[in-house]
Amino acid sequence: MEKFIYIALFAPLVGSLIAALFSTQSKMVFTGWFTSFMLAVSMYASLNLLYYVYTEDISLHIVLFDWIVIGNLDIPFGFVVDHVSVVMMSVVTVVSTMVHIHSIGYMEHDKGFNRYFSYLSAFVFSMLVLVMSDNFAVLFIGWEGVGVCSWLLIGFWYHKESATWAANEAFIMNRIGDLGLLLGMFLIYWNIGSLQYDIVFAQFSTLETSTLIWIGALLFLGAMGKSAQFPLHTWLADAMEGPTPVSALIHAATMVTAGVYLVVRSNELYSLIPEVGYAIACLGAFVAIFAASMALVNNDMKRIIAYSTLSQLGYMFVAAGLGAYWIALFHLATHAFFKSVLFLGAGNVMHAMHDELDIRKMGGLHKEMKATSYIMIIASLALAGIFPLAGFFSKDKILEAAFYSDATVLWAILWITAGLTAFYSFRLVMKIFFGKANYSEELHPHEAKSFVIAAMIPLAILAVIAGWFEHSFVEFVTKILPTWETTNLEHSTAWKLILVTSAIVIFGIAVAVFKYKRDGFSKSWEDTFIYKLLSNQYYIPKIYEVCITKPYYAISVWVWKVIEIKFIDASIDGLAHFVNKMGVRFRPIQSGNLSSSLRLMTFGLILGLVFALVLSVL
């Protein structure tokens, strides 16, 4: 059985390396199909492992090699396949395989075709390392790996200034989070002496609460960076500069969920510090409504979906913060499916509209792109949370969790956000596919190739049916994660909640459909203060630029001009000048004249004799 672990882990790496061999050459379709095949192999292995762990109910551990063994520090390069990680593995590999196949169609005209697939597979490999690790150090390797690969992929079209800027922004914000993660890891090691999950989690209860709070807060800081929680959220919207399948993979299903995974994995820590959990939940709720509000007015297709991701991440953190870890994991899985297929559909639309992103310039594409349209409608329904699609089950559970924990304010925020989510998802769908066609006539949008649609279909199906496995999912995952029952809630209350949620969701959809069937909202809305605030993302990027970027830049310039040039360079140059001058001063010694050399020789002889005399006297 262990061979499946190796296959699942290293098949993407093999694909990436082989694709890397051709990275400087022009497009070879072979790389696309080969990497997709490798990922399919990995997917097969992961699903095999899922089946195995599900039926046998045991976790598999392997240790590749002893990585760091210094003194008391013993960090093996080990992997564990337990219930949580196998769920993550399955989600990651399924979505990755579909995204790879979709990318073959999406990137068909791109010059960096081979390089793209190499990066994409490398990303999947890092994500698998992250998910399968059995200690914090290997998790951190995967963490950094996905950060690097996401930088490579966001800045894939590196000659575009905006792309490189977005890539740097993503990486730097991730780095800020990584600092927190590292500090958390250091604290763990300092207090417990090991970084292995089993050892660490067993001993958490022995530490005092203040240490635990610090560790929890620092680890969550890392999660904030990776999962783009406020205030480290601006990179996610800007990361849309990368190719759309990248957004589908990274910013819907995998990298941004790494933060949630970290919190879920460390559930034994967060169960001990419920205050930090509650703070996480509050932040998550805030982000949910914050992002949803920004998605309401945005006109960039991918940004709307990005804000939607941000919002759903907030949902997941609410669930994790309130202690309902399996619910967070469940929502993670379902969200991965419908969000990635939304992005892939957006990719099809972009391809058809020749990389047009503004939804005001689309409309009426339903006639030409039936398959994509239907898939995106299904995905949006799942996102909104309509019964019986996947989002309904997972989102509802989160709302139940909020209500049950007496966090009624959180519940209210999430409830409103559910309505907003429904509204903006269908605003997107209506503006793209229905209504008046606003694009120029020469564009002739056409549907994507059939294999591309074929790649999207499994994800769409999963978006539909994933919710139906809730019970088996709960049983499976709560063998490791703490259970969270809603049995305390009376049945009637639970039903009332479901009705209320569905009501606002249907209301949101209805408003969107009615309004955008005609012309949408009137233009006068665009002059209001609220509209300006939302469309400029609450001016937060501007605040960051003014308060953080510019001063930091000024400080850097000052440091460069004064310290670097005047001190450091001057001192090193001075040293070199000094040596040079010494050499120039001493050059006359080498006059080539034997007499002077002999004179120097006798002088040296005198010195030697004096030295010997002094030494013998002493």
Partner: protein, 99 residues
């Protein structure tokens, strides 16, 4: 005579040779001064050999003589070549190693 006397004599001769080596600009004279230094050392070695009753000093002196002879041969040969090429045996003109 005591050993010290011989050794002092050897030192004096050595320093005379040293003066010559430093002072002389005529390369041939330089060689003469080198001979003086070698002979001074020979005297010292022979004196030590006698006063300790050991033959090692004399053997050393013997080999020094042999080496000095061959050195003279080669040195003169080189000097002749140099003279043929440049026509001067002034030490100040041999400055090819000027750095």
């Amino acid at each position: 005579m005591t050993l010290n006397a011989y050794l002092i004599l050897s030192t004096v001769l050595f320093s005379i040779g040293l003066i010559g080596v430093i002072r002389r600009k005529n390369v041939l004279m330089l060689f003469f001064s080198t001979e003086i230094m070698l002979n001074a050392v020979n005297v010292g070695l022979a004196a030590i050999s006698k006063f300790h009753g050991d033959l090692t000093g004399q053997m050393f002196a013997f080999f020094i003589i042999a080496v000095a002879a061959s050195e003279v041969a080669i040195g003169l040969g080189l000097l002749i070549l140099w003279y043929k090429r440049t026509g001067s045996i002034n030490l100040d003109d041999i400055a090819g190693m000027k750095g």
